[in-house]
């Protein structure tokens, strides 16, 4: 299991490959991998967005993500998991978050990755401030429920 807060742009596919190759318990033993990637769009709420700044609460972020992954481990037979989240200044088309879960069977991988993603959205202390094309800045107010 690995949780990483990343101040620089990251390549989600490279992160997954590196993790998969370095994880001793994976080779030949996993049947299912479910991956979610959240990527910054260049529009939101009808406005063109130039970029955003992701603030976080160092320490609490890692603690809460650790709890979330631990909860998932209790609920599903997870072989391995990886969570990567950007902070700092982000441009459109850059990845914001990566959640990957390796299991034996596909239902567990889908359920666990979605659980981690939803819990991250509602509990991990990150805050987004968008910079609009007009140079105005605005804080996002609330994440929506991804199960609806």
């Amino acid at each position: 299991m690995h949780i990483k807060i990343c101040a620089e742009v990251f390549d989600p596919w490279q992160e997954i490959q590196l993790h998969q190759h370095s994880a001793q318990n994976l080779a030949g033993k996993f049947g299912a991998t479910s991956v979610f990637i959240g990527t910054m769009r260049d529009f939101n709420g009808g406005d063109d967005v130039k970029g955003m700044t992701l603030e976080h609460y160092p320490g609490m972020t890692e603690k809460q993500l650790g709890k979330i992954v631990a909860e998932a481990l209790q609920q599903w037979p997870i072989i391995n998991a990886l969570v990567v989240h950007r902070v700092g200044d982000i441009l459109p088309n850059e990845p914001i978050v990566l959640v990957a879960v390796w299991t034996s069977h596909r239902g567990d991988a889908f359920d666990a990755s979605r659980y981690i993603m939803e819990a991250l959205k509602s509990r991990a202390p990150f805050w987004k401030k968008e910079r609009l094309q007009s140079q105005a800045e605005r804080w996002l107010v609330k994440n929506t429920d991804g199960y609806l």
């Binding site: 959205k121 991990a124 805050w127 401030k129 609330k142």
Partner: protein, 77 residues
């Protein structure tokens, strides 16, 4: 009682500070911490609070040395 208080995101901007260090007797709860650090300002309704990096209710107890944080709903991911 010594309490470190932290603020994040829009709440940090609206009060104009990211941290306070309180040295007060008579602080019992998280709500007291806010009231003591921000006597002229109500905590915005939807704010979240944490003690030592775990989420808590506003009526939760605080103790000497705790780090208390206030912030708006999270918007990561």
């Amino acid at each position: 009682m010594s309490i470190k208080v932290r603020y994040f995101a829009s709440l940090k901007e609206s009060i104009g500070r990211s941290e306070d260090y309180l040295e007060f007797a008579g602080i019992a709860t998280v709500a007291d911490v806010w009231g003591c650090a921000n006597p002229n300002k109500a905590l915005p309704d939807n704010s979240l609070a944490a003690v030592n990096m775990d989420y808590v209710e506003l009526n939760s107890a605080v103790k000497d040395g705790d780090e208390v944080a206030f912030f708006p709903p999270v918007t990561g991911g």
